[in-house]
């Protein structure tokens, strides 16, 4: 811990550390989220650098609570830390109110922790953008949380390497009347568009929440079925 801030303004009014963090995010594996009328889907690339890696041990979609999950683009360990902080936030809220937390509330509280890392002495910003997907009393939500601490609600979005192309693709395909099954197909198609190599049930991760308020990470067998449907 040092007394002085590491993230300071440049003469142009930019916080370069945050820009550089966003660069780290832009190099990360693509993650896509789509919000449908009756649910939200998260789809993320899980390409491993070596065939020797145990694919099943890598989990890129983290469950934050029964009805909220998150994924990321950028530095894996930073996501691990933030998702654990998020889980604690949820439980703290739960202990106090014994009520299901709203996705917006969770996003805002987590964003506070992310922002602190851009201002407190001696620490660097988080090198991840996070996509939070959940279903609460208000309905389905998809929120993006950036290294700056800014958070945005999206109907559909992508982060990581293929973000730009994927978002262009999504802009054409998205419609507000989409049902969750359409959204899953669209998300997989979008990911497939910019995918390097062959897309398989084990080199991607798919998570879905429907109006039952239960987030489920799909097992490879189910992902296989969806991928086959795309053919």
């Amino acid at each position: 811990m040092t007394d002085f801030a590491l993230t300071t303004f440049s003469s142009k009014g930019k916080l370069l550390q945050i820009e550089y963090a966003l660069n780290a995010v832009a190099k990360g594996d693509t993650a896509i989220g789509i919000k449908a009328k009756n649910g939200v889907v998260l789809v993320v690339e899980k390409k491993q650098s070596s065939i020797l890696i145990e694919e099943s041990s890598v989990q890129k979609i983290a469950l934050l609570t029964d009805n909220v999950a998150a994924t990321y683009a950028g530095l894996g360990p930073d996501f691990r830390v933030l998702s654990q902080q998020a889980r604690k936030l949820v439980k703290k809220y739960d202990l106090k109110y014994q009520e299901e937390i709203f996705v917006q509330t969770l996003s805002r509280e987590l964003a506070e922790d992310v922002q602190i890392a851009t201002q407190r002495g001696g620490i660097r910003p988080f090198g991840v953008s996070i996509l939070i997907a959940g279903y609460d009393e208000e309905g389905p939500h998809l929120v993006q949380l950036d290294p700056s601490g800014a958070y945005y609600s999206w109907k559909a979005t992508a982060i990581g390497k293929q973000a730009k192309n994927a978002k262009a693709f999504l802009e054409k395909r998205y419609n507000a009347d989409m049902e969750i099954e359409d959204a899953i197909n669209t998300a997989l198609l979008t990911l497939k568009e910019g995918f390097e190599g062959q897309i398989t049930p084990t080199n991607i991760e798919v998570g879905v929440i429907r109006d039952d308020h239960v987030f489920r990470i799909l097992p490879p067998s189910q992902v296989k079925d969806y991928l086959e449907e795309l053919e």
């Binding site: 202990l95 106090k96 109110y97 014994q98 009520e99 709203f102 509330t105 805002r108």
Partner: protein, 204 residues
């Protein structure tokens, strides 16, 4: 301080009716045998559909109420929505337990209407919550009020009947208890409105 809960005196009672709830309290603020004032408020409207009644040490009644007001105001601003009565009931329990080793000397009753459904909860001073189906009492006159409640109460009373029953129970109890009384206030909450009525008790 023998009987810190008895120092100021006072009684409260809460009841469930058909799509309505009622809360009643006495009006005495005393210091042991002396009566200081006869218009002390012990039932507070936390939100349009939530009432909080507090008995015990008056200083803590006021402080705890202020703390709950602050919590619900911040919640309204942060979450941009009203708090549900069941959520508030849980909040009271955790707020009390937070002071486990230096507690608020109060015994609260929370009553509210959630989507038309009556909610009633009571606690000990360190936050043990009980959800109840009929009625609950608190304060120095509590046990006397219990007797009257058991005799008069029926489930699913209408707002008018509930007002009568809770009023009579409070008055009987307070008339017996030397530390409670000097008037009573009855609150009846329905989906449409909150009515407040002032009752006379034995003026001693």
């Amino acid at each position: 301080m023998s009987g810190i809960f008895e120092y100021n005196g006072g009684s409260i009672v809460g009841m469930k009716g058909k799509n309505c709830i009622a809360m009643a309290c006495d009006r005495r603020f005393g210091q042991q045998m002396s009566t200081i004032t006869t218009n002390y408020q012990k039932v507070f409207k936390i939100q349009d559909n939530i009432l909080l009644a507090l008995s015990g040490l008056n200083s803590d009644i006021h402080t705890f109420y202020a703390l709950m007001e602050k919590e619900i105001n911040l919640y309204n601003l942060k979450e941009n929505r009203k708090m549900k009565p069941t959520t508030f009931a849980n909040l009271v329990a955790s707020a009390l337990y937070e002071r486990r080793f230096g507690p608020f000397f109060v015994t609260p009753i929370v009553a509210g209407l959630e989507n038309g459904k009556p909610i009633l909860a009571t606690y000990d001073s360190i936050g043990c919550k009980s959800d109840l189906d009929d009625f609950q009492v608190g304060g120095t006159g509590g046990n006397y009020i219990y007797g009257a409640c058991e005799a008069f109460f029926k489930p699913d009373l209408s707002p008018e009947e509930l007002e009568e029953v809770i009023g009579q129970s409070l008055v009987s109890g307070c008339d017996r208890d030397s530390l409670s009384g000097w008037g009573g206030v009855v609150y009846v909450l329905t989906e449409q409105k909150l009515t407040v009525k002032i009752l006379k008790t034995k003026q001693t």
